[in-house]
Amino acid sequence: MKTLKIEELSKNFGSTEVLRKINLEIDEGNFLVLLGPSGCGKSTLLNIIAGLETINEGNVYIDDYNVSKVEPKDRNIAMVFQSYALYPSMNVGENMVFGLKQAKTSKEKIQQQLEKVSKFLQVDALLERKPSQLSGGQRQRVAIGRALVREPRIFLFDEPLSNLDAKLRVEMRREIKKLHQQLKTTVVYVTHDQTEAMSLGTKIAIMNHGVIQQNDTPENIYNKPSNTFVADFIGSPSMNLIKGKLKEKSNNITFAAEGSNFDIPISGYKFENTSQLDGKEVYFGIRPEHIHFKSSNNENFEVNLKADLSEYIGHEQIITFNYVNQELLAKFPSTIKIELNKETKLYFDLTQVSLFDTNSKERL
């Protein structure tokens, strides 16, 4: 049984297609993050799961029950919004129990739930206050509390941290993570922040233009991006994509960038399909953090590159190198001294390389 299953779901607003043939499954207790740039349809997808938007095609199942035409209140879900959406005229306590009251829950049960959740979230001292008298973090906590008291099957979060300042955001992120570890409920969480997605999710679904690009664990998303969009979207700075060609000679596969006079051996790379590799135009993808100043293992490939630009950001520095007239970014600890306009010896970690087809942009 899947806690949430989305099947061939499509949605359009007028003539604009927002979601195209979305398929998604979540097991009990998982934390799924919908990640993507703004306008990719992630919030619409969340609203559809909540029942706040209608569906054009496809179905949504919660616990194997088709809820596509079920009212939001009957879906056994709770949602936390970006603006918190606390009812301004009600105090904290009233805000939290509003849903239970609508569901005609008994007074004792309401009181019991309110006490339990408000203690748990440390808002029990604030119950009499109005939302306008709370700080951003407190509002956030009350909004989560309002979702918690209903004990839903699925929690939906719609960019809940983006209205907080940077420091508070990191704190609340940890609290949400803790919350999930303790309660082990199923969560669907929408964000455009990759750090949030990486640190919170047990699964991440990366979306672009209404299509899921990759739905995988954070590790696989980072290490094995399924296409150039994912490779580019995740990581900061994003993955270097060097254009070039593959060469195959007696089972030895190498890569050479356009106009370069040396070949990079990539025989260790696990191709999904090994046919017709010779002469294939590809992107050679390597993350800035996988380019080293010192050799780290015997899978390293040594190159001499000239540094063009150095960006110091405190604990580390980002250096832009000229790789046969293509830009190559590398990240080093800021203790390393690298001279500009001079050849520097660098080591590519070939165990961390990704290859993409230049036409389909898919991973090879």
Partner: protein
């Protein structure tokens, strides 16, 4: 900055700017007082005249202070002289107006709030057209609809009645009240409605429990606007009612114009003030909110 600009020359500049500021301030007050007196002058004349006897009016000038506080003309304006036919006084018409204004303001405000709520939080296909047509209602000159409205009231059997006037004022208030409420609710985050839907609240519950409690500023604005419009209306009142069903503005007109013998300026002035007092009261009571409601839009959670 030039080097040769010494401390003394800074002092000179400081002095100069001080004098300029003092001059501008006095000029500002002068202009403000001038305009204020321009507006207050008619009120002063009305008040003073209403307290004079006819004898004093004939002998003195407009500005002369009355010799004693004499409220006789106010009593006459309100309750009449006590002789039968032809004695017009304001009391019954004042109550007509109250009976007309209270329900008309209530219904037009309520319906406007509902319409504004639907147009912003329950969007449907073509809703912007509905809003556009409602907005149109704000620009239709009332003279243009007098005849069709008279016919409608006739068919409904409520012409020449307070109920008929309530209907007319409610209907023609809706474009304005809808505009007010729509613009207010547009700034209320729609996520509130979504959250309430997930919590299981329906259409009316969301309106009464979530939106209406935060609508105080715009309700005040709408009530003041509608009250002033309807209380001061003469056109609808004089067209759709006559005789005993007339509102106070029509009665005031009849009183002032139908004086058979001498023009009693003191009674006329007193009547005019009485007819204007309710709007003044509403402004004094709610004016603070009026300004606040007009300027504030965003509701922060």
């Amino acid at each position: 900055m030039q080097d040769n600009l010494k401390a003394s020359s800074y002092r000179d500049l400081e002095q100069k700017s001080k004098y300029t500021n003092i001059f501008l301030r006095w000029f500002l007050y002068f202009v403000l007082i001038l305009f204020a007196s321009y507006f207050i002058f008619p009120l002063y004349v009305m008040l003073v005249t209403s307290l004079k006897t006819m004898e004093e009016i004939r002998q003195g000038t407009l500005l002369t202070w009355p010799s004693s506080l004499n409220f006789d003309s106010w009593l006459v304006a309100w309750g009449g002289r006590g002789y039968g036919a032809g004695d017009t006084f304001l009391r019954p018409y004042f109550w007509n107006s109250i009976k007309m204004v209270v329900p008309a303001v209530f219904f037009s405000t309520f319906i406007g709030a509902m319409t504004g709520y639907v147009l912003t939080k329950w969007r449907f296909k073509g809703d912007q057209w509905v809003f556009l047509f409602l907005l149109f209602g704000c620009f239709i000159p009332f003279q243009a609809i007098l005849l069709p409205m008279a016919r409608t009231l006739g068919v409904l059997g409520i012409s020449n009645s307070v109920i008929g006037l309530v209907l007319v004022h409610t209907v023609y208030g809706i474009p304005f009240t809808t505009l007010f409420f729509r613009n207010y609710y547009v700034s209320v985050p729609t996520e509130l409605v979504k959250a309430a839907r997930i919590d299981g609240a329906g259409f009316f519950k969301i309106f009464f429990k979530i939106l209406l409690p935060i609508s105080a500023p715009i309700i005040v604005v709408t009530v003041i606007w509608q009250f002033t419009q309807i209380w001061n209306d003469f056109l609808f009142g004089s067209t759709f009612s006559f005789g005993e069903a007339a509102p106070i503005q029509v009665a005031l007109n009849n009183m002032v114009l139908s004086s058979t013998s001498v023009k009693e300026y003191n009674v006329d002035m007193a009547s005019a003030i009485i007819a204007g007092i309710p709007t003044l009261i509403v402004y004094v009571l709610a004016g603070k909110y009026f300004i606040r409601g007009l300027t504030s839009g965003a509701v922060k959670g």
